[in-house]
């Protein structure tokens, strides 16, 4: 049967297309991975998703889920054609259940919108990605994303209580329950979180929420070099302070931040650490004192942010700094590759040294920033997109960064996901655990229609 005709029957004429222009717009996300689907569908409810999947499964048509397409690993890119399911239009907040500390959402809800709404009730959903203003909760869950606050609050996985999933054959299951804990059988919720659309399509999520802390403050500490900064962080954590965010910015990142928002005047230094501390007014003060005392021997300068406005500005600029580094040179563009490694916290200083030497080896300036408190480093490289030689060097540098992280006992992706950009490292990083993943994939999606070509499966 004619694919587009069937899709029009399911979702209506305006919500499925084969227009080459539309297909081109859906052929990439924020990564360098490309793949053109045969059609794009924008379903409005679980029933439609289920019908699309049942049809696709019967006819062996690949289906790739997509939220906002801000993923950095090609997760939402259709590598083998077929259907892209754009879920951004399923964007209702279904229920805010403060008494049960949870919310129910559709997958297309934008992260920041959820927190805006929750904020008016004095609550928040803690995972805090830089892409908060544009990424969907479906994408965040599918990637097990996180962000600046994961050092204290953990990743998305810790906050998902229940998922409504449309399975490959179109059947609909619920993976969890409304209770805050459950011992009933395999933890399918945790399996689905981070599965990047390879095991099922998320059509609804119940998420745990927390009360907003009463107070927050930011301590800015400057260091002569990133290695000293790394040591100060390790010492701070072992002194018993768990900051709600702990971000490293190298010299170039600070330059970019100050240029992007001139109101932010972070002092020039070899490296800067932003410690955010939250809690009650008194506990925040106490933690800030400890941070200052611990960092003092390593730091060249320490100050506390002036107040709420300054903190807000610092964080909103920091969130998008990854893209803002493109501003350094008008002829260069930030390319997201090798940008999301994680290493054990103790190895952060060593990893930073390796990054410096990789930068020298390939003649590419590498800007480093990231969630140093949980060992997650983002390396940013800009190249002249019209220069093939620079592309080659870029790929070689990214490859070395990934292999070095694995060698240090780390991961090639701490929060952005594997997609197809990093799938070739799955065997190296996961060993024979990958075989178990392959078995799970076969059991749940025997015809292999869900997001084929991803995760090294």
């Amino acid at each position: 049967m004619d694919l587009i005709k069937k899709l029009h029957e399911i979702v209506g004429i305006d919500r499925a297309t084969t227009s080459p222009m539309q297909l081109y717009c859906y052929s990439s996300d924020s990564s360098q991975i490309r793949g053109t689907p045969e059609c794009v569908v924008r379903p409005q409810n679980t029933g439609q998703v289920s019908q699309v999947l049942r049809f696709a499964n019967e006819h062996d048509i690949p289906v790739t889920a997509r939220g906002a397409g801000t993923g950095l690993a090609g997760g939402a890119v259709a590598l083998e054609g077929g259907i892209v399911l754009d879920l951004s239009g399923m964007d209702r907040i279904l229920d805010i259940d403060i008494n049960n500390l949870q919310v129910a959402v559709e997958p297309g809800v934008i992260h920041s919108r959820l927190n805006e709404v929750l904020g008016t009730e004095g609550f928040f959903f803690p995972p805090d990605p830089g892409s908060s203003e544009m990424c969907t909760l479906g994408g965040l869950i599918a990637n097990n994303g996180s962000g600046m606050r994961s050092v204290k609050y953990g990743t998305t996985r810790s906050y998902v209580l229940d998922l409504e999933i449309v399975m490959a054959d179109g059947s609909v299951i619920n993976t969890g329950s409304k209770t805050l804990k459950s011992s009933a059988g395999y933890d399918l919720t945790r399996l689905m979180v981070g599965s990047e659309g390879t095991l099922g399509i998320i059509t609804k999520a119940v998420l745990k929420i927390l009360p907003l802390p009463k107070a927050r403050t930011v301590v800015l500490a400057s260091f002569d070099n990133p290695v000293l900064a790394g040591e100060a962080v390790v010492k701070t954590l072992s002194a018993g302070v768990i900051p709600s965010a702990c971000e490293i910015l190298d010299r170039a990142t600070v330059e970019v931040l100050n240029a992007y928002d001139p109101n932010i005047a972070i002092p020039d230094a070899g490296a800067t650490i932003l410690f955010e501390l939250d809690g009650t007014v008194s506990s925040v003060k106490e933690q800030a004192k400890i941070v200052e005392a611990v960092c003092m021997p390593f730091a060249s300068g320490i100050r506390i942010a002036a107040g709420g406005e300054e903190m807000k500005e610092i964080w909103s600029a920091r969130r998008l700094v990854g893209a803002a580094i493109s501003r350094i040179d008008p002829n260069k563009t930030r390319v997201y590759v090798g940008e999301d490694i994680g290493v054990p916290i103790k190895e952060v200083p060593r990893m930073l040294k390796f990054i410096q030497s990789i930068s020298g080896e390939f003649g590419l300036p590498i800007i480093t920033y990231g969630h140093i408190g949980d060992g997650n480093l983002h390396t940013g490289m800009c190249i002249d997109m019209l220069d093939n030689e620079q592309w080659k060097q870029l790929d070689l540098a990214a490859d070395k960064i990934h292999r070095t992280a694995i060698m240090l006992g780390g991961t090639v992706s701490a929060e952005h996901g594997i997609g197809s950009a990093r799938s070739k490292y799955m065997r190296l990083e996961r060993g024979n655990a990958l075989d178990v993943m392959i078995l799970i994939k076969r059991a749940l999606d025997p015809r292999g229609i869900l997001n084929p070509g991803k995760l090294g499966l």
Partner: protein, 352 residues
Amino acid sequence: MLDLDLRSILKCVRCGACRSVCPVLEEVGWESAGARGRILVAHGISQGLDVDADVLESLNTCMTCGMCKQMCPAGANPTYVIENTRRQLVMRGEMTEAQRKLNERIMESGNSLGEVSDRRSWLSEYKGEIKETAGYVYFVGCLGAYRYPESVVATFDVLSRFDVTILPDEICCGSPLIRTGFDVDELIAHNIEQMRKVGAHTFITSCAGCHNTLIQSYPDEFEVMHVSEFLEQHLPELQLRRLKLTVTYHDACHLGRCRGVFDAPRRVIEAVCDLKEMKTNRENARCCGGGGGVRTGYPDLSLALAKKRLEEIPDGVDYLITSCPLCTKNLIEGGSDTDVLDLVELVRLAIE
């Protein structure tokens, strides 16, 4: 051969941050309706993507409101990419019927509405004198001249108390054509010649589109001021009385976000009555839905966006004040429950 300026296209890192601000994307939903999508379309064309009706729709449904440009962390300039791509396609003869007609209309009639009547017929309601030479010229604009004669009369009535006149033979500034991809050298040359005849050094505009275009596309020879800036400078001489009114103010994109004129209209308003801000204002003000050729090419979309803007009017205001006739028109046609009034008409109420 199209000159799509690949470097400016490649400046987009595809981060998608602009998804959070584009009002058209919010309304339409498809990736192609946002800044990232439109830049992708431009990139596609450079790679051989066929220019069909869908491609033109993606490019032409941009209101050039500049929200994306303002927020783009990477320093890309989506509005430039979109306008340049429209222009390159027009040069190759690829355009929509609406674009073709608009161009014909303006080139034949000298105004964006295709009116054949006298552009200065509003003068029949104007009682004062017209100076032959003056330092300042009130550039009336097409929409004002033909659709809002009362507000043009009010404006000239106030301005003509100073060293201000009008052009003997003003024609369209070219804004609608530049936004939709056409060259307007003839129109520019004509208006400049008129300026020289009058001996003026400064244009005074009362339309955001004219304002932006006279600054961006006309030679530096002339200064450009918005009428709110001129009035702000002359507040003491105007001896305005205070009105018992509370109003709200809609920032026109091409005046505010694009040209930074935020304070002058507010100071003028506050000199005569109370001001209560709209939900989004100044740099973050939502577009009225009319810009970039969207009003002409996609009226349904344009009115849907106008309705969204109208939802942002605060409670308890007597008027929605605008500083651009295109915004006025779109907000009225979008079904405003609050009366829409041009800034200078408000000032006129405080003079009488």
